[in-house]
């Protein structure tokens, strides 16, 4: 989709090139994150794609066409662009801001108005309240949404985002990230996303390109990068909690094991035998409606001698005992730690479909590490 070949950018009066001999091919329909410490040239690379900066040597081709052969303004009109400081025109209303590129394309008025409304709603903003407002009347998070909406106005196949969520508070940032990921599932744009935050890169990227001083040091999926950092720089950049970070790539369903034993109220007397037969030390308890409510271990069960009341009161773990299949592993791990428990039931909707222990998490990560 976007093909960078042997790109070098040398600024006059600087000893080191800002970008050196970079070749990178960015696949279509995916988010490619360019990450690295500040000054590593990642923004320069991004800005060479839409010719905001011209490379000293090398070629950028988009869909097989050399970008330097297209009029820069025309080229930019066809590429969504979001910057950290958003750059909304302060003298134009939100609707007018979103309408900028459609107007450059000379869309008819009704079509523009319709598209603007559509985008405001898509971004989860209040249509009537937002349309006529000026940028300074919005919060940082809202402005950033408008910035993204504006970049998507003519539905460009490519979007360039330069630290788009860098200027908003952490809560709003998480929110915006989740929304962009959700949106991306539908719109499937080719997104080049620049950030200096490795966590954001891991979260957002289908692919991550790590840069150091103008050079590409590693390119790969988050999993590849977290599993096999090429060198000490990458390892350092990822941080010492590399393996813990890796957890965030997986969800509970991937690491779970089958449920050892299910026990209903009526089946309580035979629970011990059942657990022994299944060679498991944990049983999940189903209430009268057959819904899982908690779990107990063999030892706890014996403590109560199978008495239902005692079991309910003393040993049945109900709080923080279940997560959904889609829950990220770090959240599941956090629950295990928070409630000092050994097991979690995994629910798919309301049905129990598996369970998860520390051991399972460890085994899953270790297996992935060994690949």
């Amino acid at each position: 989709m976007i093909e960078l070949k042997q790109i070098t950018k040398q600024y006059p009066g600087q000893a080191m090139p800002a970008v050196e001999q970079l070749s990178l091919s960015i696949p279509e329909g995916e988010i490619c994150v360019l990450v690295g410490p500040s000054g590593c040239g990642k923004s320069t690379i991004l800005r060479m794609i839409n010719r905001m900066i011209e490379p000293t040597s090398g070629t950028v081709s988009i869909k097989g066409k050399d970008a330097s052969g297209t009029d820069p303004d025309q080229l930019r009109m066809g590429i969504g662009y979001v910057i950290q400081q958003i750059g909304l025109l302060p003298h134009r209303t939100i609707a007018e801001n979103i309408a900028i590129v459609p107007r450059l394309y000379k869309w008819p008025k009704e079509k523009i108005a319709q598209r603007v409304d559509e985008l405001i709603v898509m971004m989860g903003l209040d249509l009537e309240k937002t349309r006529g407002k000026y940028p300074s009347q919005l919060s940082g998070g809202q402005m950033q949404r408008v910035g993204v909406a504006r970049a998507m106005a003519v539905d460009p196949p490519i979007m360039l985002m330069d630290e788009p969520f860098g200027a908003v508070d952490p809560i709003a940032r998480t929110h915006l990230q989740d929304e962009l990921l959700r949106l991306q599932k539908e719109i499937k744009k080719t997104i080049v996303f620049v950030t200096h935050d490795i966590n954001e890169a891991i979260k957002m990227g289908d692919n991550i390109a790590i840069f150091e001083a103008g050079k590409l040091v590693q390119f790969g999926t988050p999993e590849e990068i977290l599993t096999n950092p090429t060198n000490a720089f990458v390892e350092n950049f990822i941080g010492h909690d590399r393996v813990v970070k890796k957890l965030s790539l997986y969800c509970a369903a991937e690491a779970m094991q089958p449920v050892g034993c299910l026990v209903s109220e009526t089946g309580l007397p035979s629970a011990r035998q059942k657990m022994m037969d299944a060679e498991t030390e944990v049983a999940f308890f189903l209430n009268a409606e057959g819904k899982p409510t908690g779990y107990f271990t063999l030892a706890e069960f014996e403590e109560c001698e199978g008495d239902l009341k005692c079991l309910r009161k003393k040993v049945l773990r109900t709080e923080g005992a279940f997560v959904q299949t889609t829950t990220p592993l770090p959240d599941a791990l956090s629950l295990l730690l928070e409630f000092d428990s050994d097991y979690l039931g995994i629910l798919k909707g309301k049905e129990i479909c598996g369970m998860l222990s520390f051991k399972d998490i460890r085994r899953h990560v270790y297996r992935k590490e060994g690949e």
């Binding site: 009109m77 750059g87 302060p90 590129v101 450059l104 407002k133 000026y134 970049a151």
Partner: protein
């Protein structure tokens, strides 16, 4: 002081003088805007930025020359009447507008310009739709300063037969009629204040609600 003189100055002499004065001011400011704003725009472009300081210094020097001197110097070339008067006043009014145009354009948030460029707006479009509108309040305040200058300096125009409120003042001095002085100077002051207020109002109106403080 007599009421009769005062009445005569105010109702017989002042209307014509006021009209002439307004005409001089409007012509001067119109020409000044037509020269200064494009000049300011040009000097804020990267290509011509290096000439900015030189030009501003030149305009500073021009402004430092007393209006009376310019009128006297222009007299042999342009003769009597409105032309040399407008020229002299023009020299006084270019600087504030050029200076403010440059300042206003430079102060436009670079991120906004960057975003506009990144969306594919041409340089021309960015200038017309982004930079000038955003610099407008500052440019207008330069025009305001220049207008007030021109209103007050405009009284000198009477010395070379261009008429205006200066006629009343000079006449009053020559004839020892303080009523004439009062009417001429008073109307001049009033005109300066009114124009200033009017331009301030326009400035407020063209500033979009999102940018008013």
């Amino acid at each position: 002081m007599t009421w009769e003189n005062f009445r005569f100055a105010l109702f017989e002499k002042a209307p014509e003088a006021l009209l002439e004065h307004t005409l001089i001011v409007l012509i001067t400011i119109a020409i000044a805007i037509l020269i200064s704003v494009p000049l300011g725009v040009l000097l804020s472009r990267p290509k011509f930025k290096r000439f900015g300081l030189v030009t501003l210094n030149l305009l500073n020097v021009l402004q430092a020359i007393p209006g009376l001197a310019i009128i006297a110097l222009a007299l042999p070339i342009l003769g009597l009447g409105m032309k040399p008067a407008v020229l002299a006043l023009l020299f006084q009014s270019l600087l504030p507008i050029v200076r403010n145009t440059i300042a206003g354009l430079i102060e436009v948030n670079p991120n906004v310009k960057e975003a506009a460029r990144g969306m594919g707006m041409s340089q021309r479009r960015i200038l017309m739709e982004v930079e000038i509108p955003l610099a407008m309040p500052i440019i207008l305040s330069g025009i305001k300063t220049a207008t007030v200058y021109v209103v007050s300096m405009g009284t000198l125009a009477a010395l070379i037969g261009a008429g205006g409120l200066g006629n009343l003042i000079i006449g009053g001095l020559a004839l020892f009629r303080p009523e004439y002085l009062l009417v001429g100077a008073g109307l001049g002051a009033l005109m300066a204040i009114l124009l200033e207020r009017g331009l301030t109002y326009i400035e407020y109106r063209i500033t979009p609600p999102g940018m008013r403080f």
